[in-house]
Subunit: 396 residues, 2 copies
């Protein structure tokens, strides 16, 4: 008897490629020793959490024997945590947010799902620029929507707003952007964001329904060479920012994130009531209470960005020396070079033979490229040079 739903049966059949890669990594570590495997496949931050995280946890532990210490919080988060988050976001993003404008979530993933559930009618469309994070497709499908993609501009991976306009229709319920960008390292400029917002404002009027701009920003803190990461919240009434503390506080396992509404939206209270409801009925209920305490204790703290800068520069040297074509990331911790030979899966197979692990661009809706995550020690990056060079030579 078939155990699973048709949809999930299909998902499982298609996910076997990624699993095979994961298993190949385990095999390589067994065969050659973990120190000889150069794993750039995962965005799992290796830096320890900042001291304020640990201190916040210890302070909470001291009062954890009290009644309700681990009690439910309201579905949108504990009032004191929402208050603190709104204050910090206001300063950080140059907007004026109140506690009622933010929802604390089980990581950015739950915030994004809560937003999608609140706005999507069956068959409506979410547009995003390719390449893109593969989970987006599952998330919009969870709520009856459909993901469609628009190519980013070649070379720079900047948003192609003309192509976006051409792709839009009255079925378009939302546009999802992600800057600093996974997997390309692109950072959208203020001009580009303004152009997107102007288009969406015009289309919202034309269609008679909001075209939401969902901005997924877990790498907001991580931009290089002093460039700015502009906020969408002051630019557009139908903008929602979703993010998490997984990367800047090295907290991915505790699942703590948020959604924030634009102060330009008139009916924010209604929209927040909907998010609070969807956050509840999707089974998130409330963000983990220990995580809420940690977040408040550590707001504004960050892992050391200089470490990532040095890693980026080391990886750029390794790739340039071996003759790869790539864009220098302006933010996030990913390179997205061209796959030598053009076939990203074949190239990743060759790279794996050299004990270097990356992800084919096909996994991000962008064949012909591959992704390298540089949230690993600089020494590992430097020692991987030989493997990168050897794999490159095979496709010379």
């Amino acid at each position: 008897m078939q155990l699973l739903s048709e949809t999930v049966q299909g998902y499982l059949a298609n996910s076997s490629m990624i699993r095979r890669m994961f298993e190949a990594g385990i095999e390589l570590r067994k065969k050659y020793g973990p120190e000889n495997v150069y794993d750039f496949s995962l965005g799992n931050p290796d830096l320890p959490a900042p001291a304020r995280v640990v201190d916040g946890l210890k302070a909470f532990a001291e009062k954890a024997d009290q009644p309700f210490a681990f009690g439910y919080t309201p579905n949108a988060g504990a009032p004191w945590a929402r208050e603190a988050l709104a204050k910090w976001l206001s300063e950080d993003q140059g907007v004026s947010l109140e506690a009622g404008d933010v929802l604390i979530s089980v990581g950015a993933a739950s915030a994004l799902n809560a937003v999608l559930k609140a706005i999507f009618n069956p068959g409506e469309e979410l547009l995003t620029f390719a390449p893109y994070f593969v989970e987006y497709g599952f998330y919009v499908s969870n709520h009856g929507g459909v993901l469609s993609t628009v190519p980013s501009r070649p070379e720079t991976f900047a948003p192609d707003v003309e192509a976006l306009e051409k792709a839009m229709s009255p079925k378009t319920r939302a546009v999802l952007i992600n800057s600093p960008h996974n997997p390309t390292g692109a950072v959208y400029t203020l001009e580009e964001l303004k152009e997107i917002c102007a288009l969406l404002e015009r289309k919202s009027e034309e269609y008679g329904h909001p075209v939401w701009l969902i901005s997924d920003e877990p790498y907001r803190f991580l931009a290089y060479d002093g460039i700015e990461v502009p906020s969408v919240l002051p630019l557009y009434r139908f903008a929602v920012c979703v993010s998490s503390f997984s990367k800047n506080l090295s907290l991915p396992g505790e699942r703590i994130g948020y959604a924030a509404l634009s102060p330009l939206l008139e009916n924010r209270a209604e929209f927040m009531a909907a998010l609070t409801l969807t956050n509840r009925i999707l089974g998130y209920v409330n963000a983990p209470i220990v995580g809420q305490h940690i977040m408040v204790a550590a707001l504004g703290a960050s892992v050391d960005v200089d470490i990532y800068t040095r890693r980026r520069n080391a990886m750029a040297e390794v790739l340039a020396e071996a003759g790869y074509e790539f864009n220098l990331p302006r933010g996030s911790f990913y390179f997205f070079p061209k796959a030598p030979g053009g076939d990203d899966k074949a190239f990743i197979a060759a790279l794996t033979q050299e004990c270097v692990l990356g992800v084919p661009g096909s996994g991000f809706g962008c064949p012909g490229y591959f992704r390298l995550a540089f949230c690993v020690d600089e020494d590992i990056i430097r020692r991987s040079a030989k493997g990168f060079a050897a794999a490159r030579r095979k496709f010379a």
Copy 2:
């Protein structure tokens, strides 16, 4: 412009009754002082977490400055946590479970949603006995399914298996039970469970697809007068148990729960792969890492059940003295008495006027009754006697 999806717009319109009650509670506390409001409306455990929870948290805090201390865990949970949970569940429920048979989840709610997502095709039906926890309807609807109810047996709220059989059709994908039961305090006997399992086995064969038995068991630890809470896992191959540590460890805010499969299921690995996937793509990603550490440290610990026993007895005295008709709960921490006068909403309004808060049975698909949660101090229960008596007299 309408901000929300049609579905969520409809949900919000209907949820206003519960919100009005919640607001009434706030008003009453302001007007009469919090000590004069007797709030039995929420199942939010008031007992502090057991010492092993606090000790486990402190031990984790001591090593929280290490890299990856708060890192992602695999989507089904950290291997060491799954191992420990499987061992404990095996002992607790008299079955033989391995790490691969359990998934650690963001509370029972996420486990339940992950299971529903894995098995439901659009339009298929979930059957449950009324009264029932209102969130079940949202959860099954999240995944395109439909909730239908079968009345429990009158007076005892035992499962009516004949009525269940009559309600079943090839569209029935799952039956959901909840014992010890919210809101009635009923505990299903081994005989009753066997009868349900035999029916579902027969129907699975007849329909050519599994009819899953989902057993929601957050109150498994809380049964009175020495009665046993039998496990469904050894009884039926398509049984899945979902539960949490919210109540027995007073941990509801940290969101830590699990799903466990029956060892009788042959393709458990396939089903667990599906649950691992749905747990990921629904945006839960992994159960909170701090919660996983706490759970392992405190497996087998429990809040003091004697305290609940005394509260149950106190509440029974109060209700009996005031002339209410009710069943003595055999488990969980709820009474579900008949609403004097028959109109549960009118009665709850009268009770609220006496500063006593409960929930109308209509909120559980069972008008004519009301729910009282006795996870509050015994003193509050005793002092509420006057209010219960006064409200009762109005409907004499």
